[in-house]
Symmetry: C2
């Protein structure tokens, strides 16, 4: 990495932390300047616009997501074990955010009615995530662990529903039973589709 | 209602529409003044603070929710029919919002890491809603339609998960299969717990 790229990545790390706290669209360049100790014009030298910065924050977060959630799951044995590793990896990921929970979940709520390139980028990320859950589920089918007639996209939809519910139960309601609820719901989906 | 109360309710109707678009915390008194054609000081005569206004918006939305979702469900026969009416009522409710979907869902995402009286009011609303789903589920158990060992709070958690997923699939992903996905998931939960 060049010095310029290094600076840019360091800014993105700070920007991602800030965006997780105040929202991807709520964050201002002024706040980021105060947070990083850089000038606003210094920041604009790295990111042409607030929108460009938001898209880079999503890319940066996606890379961390691949490292922390997807890569460990792909090291687990194909089948239900991998699906469980992926799901538990997501739970740990969302809990690692100090404020506001998973940046993607919060950004979906912010951007669902704001058309534009940032929303488009986020939709692609969300579709990739759902597709990945479906692919890992399909491997459990081809391993003979889940029934051959399993609708893997329906399973992905339902598992994704649980990630949203978990963030609500643990962050918003601060329900001490949130981990138990989400694991029981996961187990029910697996039990229903087990071969 | 006195003239003052009428004005107040009319402001709240406008404020609720605006909050659904720009967010409960994102909305400013200035925006509401522009939206209603009132002066900021005129608005402050009705609501002592932005926080007081936010709490009143939640109350106003809750009253509409009771009228549109809860009351029709309580007119349906006790049991699975009532649970389905309640669930379908929620889907219709969330779809009726022009932008941003259900105000409660959006507000949870905004407020989950912002302690204070507005968050406290919203948590009470969310707990009431989950408790109501559990109660309607319990009636389906006592009618002998769902199994006696059904954990009604787990069912409420899972049905609530589907409301969040539906908003994501229909609003964010604009998935044409969203209604089919959510109804199939609802049916799976009912099938699993059926007597």
């Amino acid at each position: 990495m060049s010095k310029g790229q290094e600076t840019r990545e360091a800014i993105l790390t700070e920007a991602t932390t800030l965006a997780a706290k105040v929202g991807l669209t709520g964050m201002t360049i002024g706040q980021l300047a105060a947070h990083t100790g850089m000038s606003k014009s210094g920041l604009y030298a790295h990111f042409a616009s607030k929108e460009a910065l938001q898209i880079q924050i999503l890319r940066h977060t996606r890379e961390r997501f691949v490292d922390r959630v997807i890569r460990p799951a792909l090291s687990a044995p194909r089948g239900i074990a991998r699906l469980r590793t992926l799901f538990d990896g997501w739970l740990a990921w969302s809990e690692a955010f100090e404020d506001g929970g998973c940046l993607f979940v919060a950004a979906c709520s912010e951007l669902d009615d704001r058309p534009g390139p940032v929303r488009d980028a986020l939709v692609r990320d969300e579709l990739d995530w759902l597709e990945l859950i479906a692919t890992v589920t399909a491997a459990a089918v081809s391993e003979g662990q889940l029934r051959a007639d399993t609708d893997v996209h329906q399973v992905a939809y339902e598992l994704h529903a649980l990630t949203l519910a978990h963030q609500h139960a643990s962050r918003m309601l601060q329900d001490p039973r949130a981990p138990e609820r989400v694991h029981r719901a996961f187990d029910s989906i697996i039990a229903r589709t087990s071969a």
